[in-house]
């Protein structure tokens, strides 16, 4: 009874890029900036592929919501081992104001449409750090959720997931269909090797729009401004522990 997995991949600004805020404070500079698959989503794709290699999964569908460039990210997912891809096309202003709730609705709609048994997502995207999509998808579908997974075992339509929590880790068992979000230590993603990049060319990529899925992506929040964090102020030097304590007392910190 091999399961079918939907993996969400987001095209985010590459982790190594020095992000710059636009001068008009309406967002960050994305034009001409290197983008790549969100690292936590890479871990999700890797986990899905491993499940397929273990013959627990029979099909992996990759989905991404955004402009045409998302197809590159989906191609990467196909090159890593996904079987097919779905691109939910959202352009221009709609994309700039796209929020996690809208994305969750889209992913939930695709999950229902494709009748998948498992939705695998990264725990958060490194551009907005929202950490909401996985939770909201589960809520919208009324499916159980296992978040911040650092170990996943699937057997007999049940997933045993070790999660990273504040105090350490906990293991929970959820019935499929479910939503699992990946954390850093779940696995080490592979590189797409050249033969699989070649094979990915032939894998199908479907395109759809939010209206095809019956989803309204109207934003519910308005971003007022984007600003850089305050520049780091230099510290002061102290010559003894006593001086340190008195300085801390001065600032009202002890």
């Amino acid at each position: 009874m091999a399961i079918r997995i939907l993996v969400g991949v987001k095209r985010a600004i590459d982790y190594a890029v020095k992000v710059q805020v636009k001068t008009d404070k309406t967002g960050v500079v994305t034009e001409g900036v290197k983008h790549s698959m969100n690292p936590f989503d890479e871990i999700a794709v890797e986990e899905a592929i491993r499940l397929k290699e273990k013959k627990v999964a029979q099909e992996i569908i990759a989905v991404s919501c955004g402009p045409t460039q998302c197809q590159e990210t989906l191609r990467t997912a196909l090159a890593l081992g996904a079987d097919r891809a779905i691109h939910v096309e959202i352009n221009g202003k709609d994309y700039e104001t796209l929020q996690p709730l809208a994305i969750s609705k889209l992913i939930a709609a695709v999950a229902k449409k494709e009748s998948v048994d498992l939705v695998l997502l990264g725990k958060q995207a490194i551009d907005d750090d929202c950490n909401q999509t996985g939770q909201m998808v589960a809520g919208l579908l009324s499916w159980p959720q296992a978040l911040f997974a650092s170990k996943v075992d699937i057997k007999d339509k049940k997933a045993e997931v070790m999660r990273e929590i504040d105090g350490g880790s906990e293991t929970i068992r959820v019935k499929l269909p479910a939503v699992i979000t990946t954390d850093l230590r779940l696995n080490q993603p592979r590189f797409a090797n050249l033969p699989s990049i070649q094979k990915a060319k032939k894998k199908p990529m479907a395109k759809m729009s939010p209206s095809d899925l019956g989803v309204d992506i109207k934003p519910h929040q308005e971003y007022l401004s984007y600003e850089e964090p305050p520049k780091r102020q230099g510290g002061g030097r102290v010559s003894s522990v006593d001086e340190l304590i008195s300085k801390l007392k001065e600032k009202g910190l002890v």
Binding site: D14, Y15, A16, V17, K18, E31, G32, V33, K34, S36, P39, F40, P67, T68, Q69, E72, R75, T76, A79, I126, L184, Q188, P189, R190, F191, A192, N193, L194, P195, S196, I197, Q198, K201
Partner: protein, 416 residues
């Protein structure tokens, strides 16, 4: 199995080192106008370039110095490179290759050379020289015998030069006497790259010394063949992780079926292979230039002297801008030669120009990068001195600069 660890910690997100995107800075690559520049990569080529750049940074870079000191590549790294499909980039899928364009192999060599020119050399030789030789001249049986293995785990070496024949390659003295079902090879080859780790050697030998260069033939010689002996390795200035040895043939009996192509046509094959190999070396040299540059410019933006960043001195800016322009020119020469070759258009002159220009430039760029780094450039703790040493052989191997100039002049002669 190599430890494929990747650091995606939060600290990584705060990294300040810039990973240069392949796209020229501030260029709007989402325009819908047809891109006819030499940066018009197909989706696969883009993905390959990025994957290799990342692979190089995460799996090769940590081991570069260690491999140089050990005088050899890490075996797990070589296998990982094979597994990535990087040793058979443009070999067709039916022979176990990765089925990409020749241009993709150039991108692979360039990206890898930005990290380590020795690994770049391994990729260059296997892709542009050795696979190519078998693909162009081999029988279907030979192709099916060797190419899949060369894609999976078999490193090969190209044996042309000898102690008494370098630029005058076809004055080679190694003989191959036909004896029944065998050819018996006698002679010595010199400067054979990766000889220590290769499993098969493509050897140029003369089956008819009286016909001079028209007797040169090519043979596929397996390592285990009796009479083949790998000599001592050379102690070199650079590219130390790549073993360079003499290879001796003492009554080495090679089965007649291992003749590659026709007797007496070896010199033709060698010439045409080396034309493509030249583009590969061009890519390697461009990679070295870019790699050295990438490690140096951030330093110039941090280092302060006389109250300002050294990058802000106009003298520095002029030198840096000048070098960047030349690196761009070298890259475009190389890319163009590769695209011409893929389009099956004449490319020999352009290939020679690419190799000539890139290799001469690499010497200049790496030397200047050491200057920009000041005292640190002279220290082995920093990568510039390795790039400086590694690139020196660029003007020498696969046809010296003088030979390239001769080639280019011949074309010019025939054009006017």
């Amino acid at each position: 199995m190599i430890n494929l660890r990747r650091f995606i910690s939060t600290a990584q997100l705060l990294r300040t080192t810039k990973f240069n995107p392949w796209v020229p800075h501030k260029c709007n690559m989402s325009s819908t106008v047809v891109n006819q520049s030499l940066y018009n990569f197909s989706e696969e080529e883009k993905l390959i370039k990025e994957t290799v750049a990342r692979f190089g940074k995460e799996h090769v870079e940590p081991h570069v110095r260690q491999m140089e000191e050990a005088g050899g590549y890490k075996p797990e790294l070589i296998q990982a490179i094979f597994d990535q499909g990087l040793m058979s980039v443009d070999v067709p899928l039916e022979y176990g290759g990765s089925g990409q364009t020749f241009f993709s192999s150039i991108l692979v060599i360039e990206e890898m050379s930005r990290i380590d020119a020795s690994v770049g050399l391994l990729l260059d030789l296997q892709n542009t020289l050795l696979n190519r030789l078998i693909l162009s001249c081999g029988t279907e049986e030979q192709k099916h015998d060797y190419l899949p293995r060369m894609a999976k785990n078999l490193v090969a070496s190209f044996c042309l030069s000898e102690p008494t024949s370098g630029s005058d390659a076809f004055a080679l003295k190694t003989t191959a006497k036909k004896q029944g079902d065998y050819y018996v090879l006698n002679g010595t080859k010199m400067w054979i790259s990766n000889a220590e780790i290769s499993g098969v050697y493509l050897v140029m030998a003369n089956t008819n010394p009286q016909a001079k260069h028209k007797g040169i033939s090519t043979f596929i010689v397996d390592r285990e063949t009796e009479g083949l002996r790998i000599g001592k390795r050379e102690n070199k200035l650079g590219l130390k992780a790549s073993s360079t040895c003499m290879v001796h043939f003492d009554d080495c009996k090679v089965p007649a079926k291992n003749l590659l192509g026709k007797e007496g046509e070896g010199y033709k094959y060698a010439i045409s292979m080396l034309n493509e190999g030249r583009i590969g070396i061009g890519a390697q040299m461009v990679g070295i230039c870019q790699g050295a540059f990438d490690k140096t410019i951030p330093y110039t933006k941090e280092r302060k002297q006389f109250g300002q960043r050294i990058f802000d001195f106009q003298g520095m800016q002029h030198q840096i801008a000048s070098l960047a322009t030349e690196i761009e020119a070298a890259r475009l020469l190389t890319y163009n030669a590769a695209r011409l070759r893929d389009a099956k258009l004449p490319f020999v002159k352009q290939a020679a120009m690419a190799k000539l220009y890139s290799s001469e430039l690499a010497g200049k760029v790496t030397s200047k990068c050491i200057d920009f780094m000041g005292g640190l450039g002279f220290s082995c703790e920093y990568p510039q001195e390795k790039f400086f040493r590694d690139c020196k052989v660029g003007t020498i191997y696969e046809g010296t600069s003088n030979m390239q100039l001769n080639t280019i002049a011949k074309f010019i002669d025939s054009e006017y």
